[in-house]
Symmetry: C2
Subunit: 153 residues, 2 copies
Amino acid sequence: MTRPVAIQDTFPEDASHCYGCGHLNDVGYQIKTRLHGDTALTIFEPWSQHIAYEGTVYGGLIASVIDCHSAGTAAIFTMIDAGVAVGSEPSPRFVTAHLEVDFLAPTPLDRMEIVGRLVEMTDRKAIVESELLVDGKVTARGSAVLVRINDDV
Amino acid sequence: MTRPVAIQDTFPEDASHCYGCGHLNDVGYQIKTRLHGDTALTIFEPWSQHIAYEGTVYGGLIASVIDCHSAGTAAIFTMIDAGVAVGSEPSPRFVTAHLEVDFLAPTPLDRMEIVGRLVEMTDRKAIVESELLVDGKVTARGSAVLVRINDDV
């Protein structure tokens, strides 16, 4: 099975320098979000320096990953809802208007999976809810309100 | 007038490696929060790569700075409330349980001032509200619920 395209890799060049998810930002996080069943999935390996205390991930990184992941999730499901395959046409793009993160438990410094769902979509506004898991355990939850900034699709 | 000590510089060595505010994390943001009148002030110069789109700061960085700034603000005002000068004794330390950010307008890639106030304090829980300004204009607001993790002070 072919791996689904990452939505961020479909953004035009002038929208691909984001520190969180721009594939043209050499020092950034290069977050990639892909359709995964009826969810959107981001997998991120924190750097060894991304710590809060020894062995746990810094909360700001968690907020950062959830932020870009949410914008990517909104874009993916806007395309799905329109019956358009991700990567086949220019992607809708969103910016975050409101971000909330609940830190439920320390997040071990290990491979993080962020699973997102679109819970509401109006004309220009999307609400995405996400869970962050390490080794199957949910350690943080995110909720983001996003606003669409283009009309390509 | 002597510049007030940054609360993060008073943390013990094992709590000084945080990617956001640890002064021993060489590649991190080294966020520093100081008492400033009846507020706590963090000044942060984003890197040129910390962009979302051209000329605007990436939202994840804003969330990151507000996160550590909020924990620092809670620590500063816990000491003030106890009648203890910041830097004179071991500092109380907090972790974030809940973080919210409202992105009100694009934040220009320039010197950011984050001004925080403690709005509630119970036995182990603090609520901090903050505004982020660039060149005098508020572009984001943050609210954080923090939980105390030590009893040194």
